[in-house]
């Protein structure tokens, strides 16, 4: 595939798009793990959502 004189521009566009998408996915995955871990830690320390209605609780 010959992309002519502007190969680098085209390649950069595709790579940048890929990079941003990967960063987004990575951020979301890490965020998910963090929240899950915190939730587990809190539940282990004896706080459960049943021990009283929490205020901003999303029932």
């Amino acid at each position: 595939m010959d992309l002519g004189p502007y190969t680098s521009f085209i390649a950069t566009s595709y790579f940048a798009a890929a990079l941003v998408v990967v960063l987004l996915i990575g951020w979301i995955a890490i965020d998910y793990r963090t929240q899950k871990a915190r939730l587990r830690a809190l539940e282990e320390s004896g706080i459960s959502r049943r021990s009283g209605r929490a205020a901003t609780d999303m029932q």
């Binding site: 992309l3 521009f9 566009s13 998408v21 987004l24 979301i28 706080i47 205020a55």
Partner: protein, 258 residues
């Protein structure tokens, strides 16, 4: 499973847990097909191979506006119907929308260099997209800077709705100001004016990116719901050793009410 059920965060979590893999699969298939098709697409007689940038640029440009549209609807949900998932949806969408906007700007200026001879031009559309990007960042800053989520949600909702005014400006700026940028050639009155050999890969890519957005958005909404659970549990924990009240009276029961 009705819509009403979806309104319930717990149900939402359960349902999306099953849905997410499928969404991801569809996204991957569509994007792969889109990349394949765009690799096959011929060079433009005018723009040469750089037309390939279009397959990234245009979907991202569309999504940058589309995501704000979604956030505006969600904001109505927050302000008018006080829907429990609405502000979760709005908050989760903002970083994703900002990313798409960033990509539209970046690929656009990478395209602009070979086409117009400059990376950046203070043209109406380009600048209004830059403003959209700034508004995304401002909105994210607003979310971060108010720590009570319900209050932050309402403030952000007002701003999102007011900022939606920017969307028509972006869409029509090319027509109003008669600028460098391409006028609409796909989404326009009277049908698309683009050759099939470009139109098909473009549309596949666009649908692929839309599915990418949906997948990421659902995942981010799940994270947000979890974050709020964590917060409310932390609040409960604070209360648990806060109240000098007798044990078991964690809810601040009222004594001696009239």
């Amino acid at each position: 499973m009705s819509l009403i059920d979806l309104a319930n965060p717990t149900r939402f979590l359960a349902l999306t847990a099953r849905l997410l893999p499928w969404l991801a699969l569809v996204t991957v298939v569509l994007l792969a097909a889109g990349l394949y098709l765009s690799a096959l697409a011929p060079d433009d007689y005018q723009q040469g191979a750089t037309v390939k940038i279009m397959f990234i640029h245009v979907p991202n440009a569309w999504l940058s506006m589309f995501v704000w549209g979604i956030m505006s609807i969600a904001s109505l949900g927050t302000l008018v119907w006080r829907h429990p998932l609405a502000d979760v949806a709005a908050k989760a969408a903002a970083p994703i929308g900002a990313s798409f906007t960033f990509l539209a700007l970046l690929t656009g200026s990478l395209w602009g260099r070979p086409m117009w001879g400059t990376y950046w031009e203070w043209d109406a559309r380009l600048t209004s997209v830059l403003i959209l990007f700034l508004m995304y960042l401002g909105l994210m800053a607003l979310w971060r800077s108010v720590e009570d989520p319900t209050r932050a949600a309402r403030a952000a909702a007002v701003l999102t709705l007011v900022g939606a005014i920017n969307l028509p400006i972006i869409k029509f700026s090319v027509d109003w100001w008669n600028t460098l940028h391409q006028p609409a050639s796909v989404m326009r009155m009277g049908g698309p004016a683009l050759d099939k050999s470009f139109l098909i890969p473009l549309l596949v890519m666009a649908i692929g990116f839309s599915f990418l957005f949906i997948t990421l958005h659902v995942a981010a909404m799940r994270n947000e719901i979890l974050r709020r659970r964590v917060r409310s549990l932390q609040m409960l924990q604070a209360r648990a050793y806060t109240t000098s009240a007798p044990a078991g009276d964690a809810t601040g029961r009222v004594v001696g009410a009239a």
